[in-house]
Every structure is written in structure tokens, then in C-alpha cells.
């Protein structure tokens, strides 16, 4: 959920809308925000499943340390979505396990 109004920070500043594609579905994002912010704003909370047990994982540390939020971005696996800014036309996939590099597909 976007925080449109805030008692201290005021109204959400205007930002250019860019479009990203998440597992084939187009969702809007604010230019420059991290991928994870756009996903959470769209109600997407499961970013990947683990290698052995297939357990769901999402945002945990939010500052690029824990690597729980990694996804496959434009074909590159293990991208930290909490510190990687969105780009118009970016293709993001829920990552299964360690992911696959393009040459492994």
C-alpha cells in the first residue's frame, strides 16, 4: 500500500510512472524506487522460493544485507530487489532456488 498522505512527510511527491513486468504481469512503479517497493505496493510479498524446501521468502532487512529478497531481473538471478532501482520495461521473475543464468536455460 502506498502511503499517499503522511503527518510528517506530507503528500507523496509526484514521480514519473514506469512499468515493470512481474512474472508476465505489468505493474506500475515510481521511477527510481527499489523493485521491492513497487512489488509491495502492488501487494506482492513472495519474491522467491528456497533451493531445497521451496519455502517462500520476501523482504527481510531492506538494506541489501540479508539477500532474502533476491529475484531474477532481466534474466540475471540473485538480484537484491530492496536496493535495485526499477527501470521501465524491466522483467522480473519470482526466483526458484538459486535461479538460472541465461546460458543455463
Amino acid at each position: 500500500m502506498r502511503i499517499e498522505e503522511h503527518p510528517i512527510l506530507g503528500s507523496l511527491p509526484k514521480a514519473q510512472t514506469v512499468w515493470i513486468e512481474v512474472d508476465g504481469k505489468r505493474i506500475p512503479a515510481r521511477a527510481g524506487e527499489p523493485i521491492a517497493a513497487a512489488l509491495l505496493a502492488a501487494g506482492i510479498r513472495v519474491f522467491r522460493t528456497t533451493h531445497r524446501r521451496g519455502e517462500p521468502r520476501g523482504l527481510f532487512c531492506g538494506v541489501g544485507r540479508c539477500t532474502d529478497c533476491v529475484m531474477t531481473v532481466d534474466g540475471v538471478p540473485n538480484v537484491r530487489t530492496c536496493v535495485t532501482p526499477v527501470r521501465d520495461g524491466m522483467k522480473i521473475e519470482t526466483q526458484r532456488g538459486l535461479g538460472r543464468w541465461p546460458e543455463q536455460k
Partner: protein, 368 residues
């Protein structure tokens, strides 16, 4: 490109300690570069929207993100080089290995200040990895910096200052905060922060813990229980809450990777958050010319980080050949202010812990 950059003082980390160190070193005429992996300088100040306490020289009454903006502006005005999106991945003597926007290069400095900060601790219980369970700092980053609420109904674990402040900020962001769970018998944070959330109707349950988190695919329910005198859950006291967010505010650990790699000697200090590099009164580690400041030197507050940064920046400048009698006086004044910050009921414990680290450094220095 395999470039090799050179400067007088390199500072790793652009939070309060790093920016303060950079400004102090720069005022001596030294050339200073700040290396920060984030897209903007300011470190964790950028997500602090509450007003700070203390005295004027520590920006009392100002909101954290404004302090970050001011420090960064002062750095730019005075000719400190701020490299954002720049990750210092390694340290080799007085040379840092850096990756910036896909390019690797080195930065060699006469003196280096590590101001790498700290990271949030996790807490393990069944279900702690479910999406919706996250660090309180992560939630704070997303609500205040990115303006996105990661959930609507929240439980907070930890009634230290982070847990209390983030609970209040979650309310400000429009979330429902059901309560704060604290294992200790007493609230750890300042009474003023606790009072704010209590006035808003948020209960604080001391002597309670999280038993488990459940949900199909993501967090749906959290079960808490009361603790007995020995810290064991009391059977029958369990309570379940339907929530989509559980925040963990259970302390911070210094980010010491570079200090370990550099070969610094360490001592464990539970009060300062874990293994801390031994350092002198001037914040110099056991590696000559390598200084530490802020949470990496022991987890404290932004005000102490600013003063430690100042002290480390001045000492690093002196090491790099920019020393003067005036600089020595300024260092002494910074040490005095640090002593004042570490006084009173909340500060004296940290003062003893800090002095223990300095004593360790002196023992090492004497045995050399």
C-alpha cells in the same frame, strides 16, 4: 577499466559517523573521499523522521533525514568527494577495492576511516522466515523512505528505542499496531517513546515472547506467550493474533567485515552489539592508519556516531600529515563531548563498555 585512485583520507560509509569524519578531516585541508554503497548519502539517518534529543551541536530538535541532508550539503560545499553507489568490497593495507556502477577499481589512502555502521539482528522461531516477518529497520526504510507499507496489521518484537520509535512511525504511516512484545521485565527504550505509543492505545507486553509465526505462503498469524522468572513460556498464556506483518527490533550488530579483513584485533562486548575492533582514544584500530567510528566501533546512537566520526576524522588527518596544535584541542573537545553523551542512567553502561575496548587497545599497544 582497472583504475587506481589516490587520496589523503578515505571514509567507508556515508552515515552520520562517516560524513562527520569526512567534514572534520576536510577542514584540515586534507583531500577526502567518502565511499558509500547506497544511492544517496546519510546512512540510516535518511529514514529517521523523528526529532533528535540532546544538545544543539548534536542537532537536537531536528529530524534525522534533515540532518543527513545538511551533512551531505556541507560535505559538497567544502569539497569532500561523495561516491555513492560505490561498494567497498575489500581492504588491502591502505587500499580499498571498490565496485561502482559495474566498474572495479582501487582507492589508496594515507589513512582510512571505517564507518560501516551496523545491521539488524534476527530472531529465530518457527515461521520466522515467512514473508511478512522483517526487521523493524526494514519496515522503517520502506514506510519513511520509499513510502510503502509492507503490511497493515503489525506486531512489534522489542521495546528498545528502535521498536518503540518504529511502532509509532508505523501508526503515522497508517498501519494498525496491535502491540509490542518484550522478553525483558522492563521497557528498554526511553520513557518518552514508550509513552507516545501507549497514548495511541498500543499495549507493551514485557516478559513476553513470540512462540511462532504461521501462514500459508506468507504471514497470517503470530502466537505470543508470557515468560516465567526463568524466561520460559508459561503454558496456557498463549495468545494468537491475525497479522500480516511482524517486525523484529532485537538489536544491532556492528558491520565489521572490512575491519576483520584488515587484521584488526577485536574484543567481544555484549553491550556494544558484538565483536568490536579494539581502538585507541583517537579511534585508531590496531592497524596503524586505520580508524573506526560510529556503530562499527560499538553500537550506540547517532549523536555518539557524529562525535566519534569527528574524532576519527581529525585523528586520521593528523596521521596523514595534517596535524596541528589546534587539531589536538579539537580532538580533546570531541572526547569531552563523548564523555558527556555516555553519562547518566542510559549512558554510563556504554561508557564502561567503551572504556573496556580502549583498555584492550592499550594492553595491545603496551605489549607491542
Amino acid at each position: 577499466m582497472a583504475g587506481a585512485e589516490v587520496t589523503d583520507i578515505a571514509v567507508v560509509g556515508g552515515g552520520p559517523a562517516g560524513l562527520s569524519a569526512a567534514l572534520a578531516a576536510r577542514q584540515t585541508g586534507a583531500e577526502v573521499v567518502v565511499v558509500d554503497e547506497n544511492s544517496a548519502p546519510g546512512g540510516q539517518l535518511r529514514k529517521q523522521i523523528h526529532k533528535f534529543f540532546g544538545s544543539k551541536e548534536h542537532h537536537a530538535g531536528q529530524r534525522g533525514f534533515r540532518i543527513a541532508e545538511e551533512l551531505a550539503a556541507a560535505c559538497r560545499d567544502r569539497g569532500v568527494e561523495l561516491w555513492t553507489d560505490a561498494l567497498a568490497y575489500g581492504i588491502f593495507d591502505h587500499t580499498l577495492g571498490i565496485v561502482r556502477r559495474g566498474t572495479a577499481f582501487t582507492l589508496t589512502a594515507r589513512a582510512i576511516v571505517l564507518a560501516t555502521g551496523a545491521s539488524e539482528n534476527a530472531l529465530a522461531f518457527p515461521g520466522w522466515t515467512l514473508p511478512g516477518v522483517m526487521g523493524a529497520g526494514a519496515a522503517q526504510t520502506f514506510i519513511n523512505l520509499h513510502r510503502v507499507l509492507p503490511g497493515r496489521r503489525v506486531l512489534m518484537v522489542g521495546a528498545g528505542n528502535v521498536g518503540l520509535i518504529v511502532s509509532y512511525q508505523l501508526l503515522q504511516a497508517g498501519a494498525e499496531v496491535l502491540g509490542v512484545v518484550e522478553a525483558a521485565p522492563r521497557i528498554g527504550g526511553y520513557a518518552v517513546h514508550a509513552a507516545k505509543i501507549r497514548r495511541a492505545g498500543v499495549p507493551i507486553w514485557t516478559r513476553h515472547t513470540v512462540l511462532r509465526a504461521d501462514g500459508r505462503g506468507q504471514l497470517e498469524e503470530v502466537t505470543i506467550a508470557a515468560l516465567d522468572e526463568n524466561g520460559r513460556p508459561i503454558p496456557g498464556s498463549e495468545r494468537a493474533f491475525a497479522v500480516d506483518m511482524l517486525c523484529l527490533a532485537v538489536g544491532l550488530t556492528p558491520l565489521t567485515e572490512l575491519a576483520w579483513q584488515a587484521g584488526c584485533r577485536f574484543e567481544y562486548s555484549a553491550l556494544l552489539g558484538g565483536h568490536v575492533p579494539l581502538h585507541s582514544e583517537d579511534m585508531e584500530t590496531t592497524v596503524p592508519g586505520l580508524f573506526v567510528a560510529g556503530d562499527v566501533a560499538g553500537v550506540e546512537e547517532a549523536s555518539t556516531a557524529l562525535e566519534e566520526g569527528r574524532l576519527a576524522g581529525l585523528a586520521a588527518a593528523a596521521y596523514a600529515g595534517h596535524g596541528s596544535p589546534a587539531l589536538e584541542k579539537e580532538k580533546a573537545a570531541a572526547r569531552e563531548r563523548l564523555l558527556a553523551l555516555r553519562s547518566g542512567p542510559f549512558g554510563s553502561g556504554r561508557r564502561h563498555a567503551y572504556e573496556e575496548i580502549v583498555r584492550g587497545w592499550l594492553r595491545w599497544s603496551g605489549a607491542r
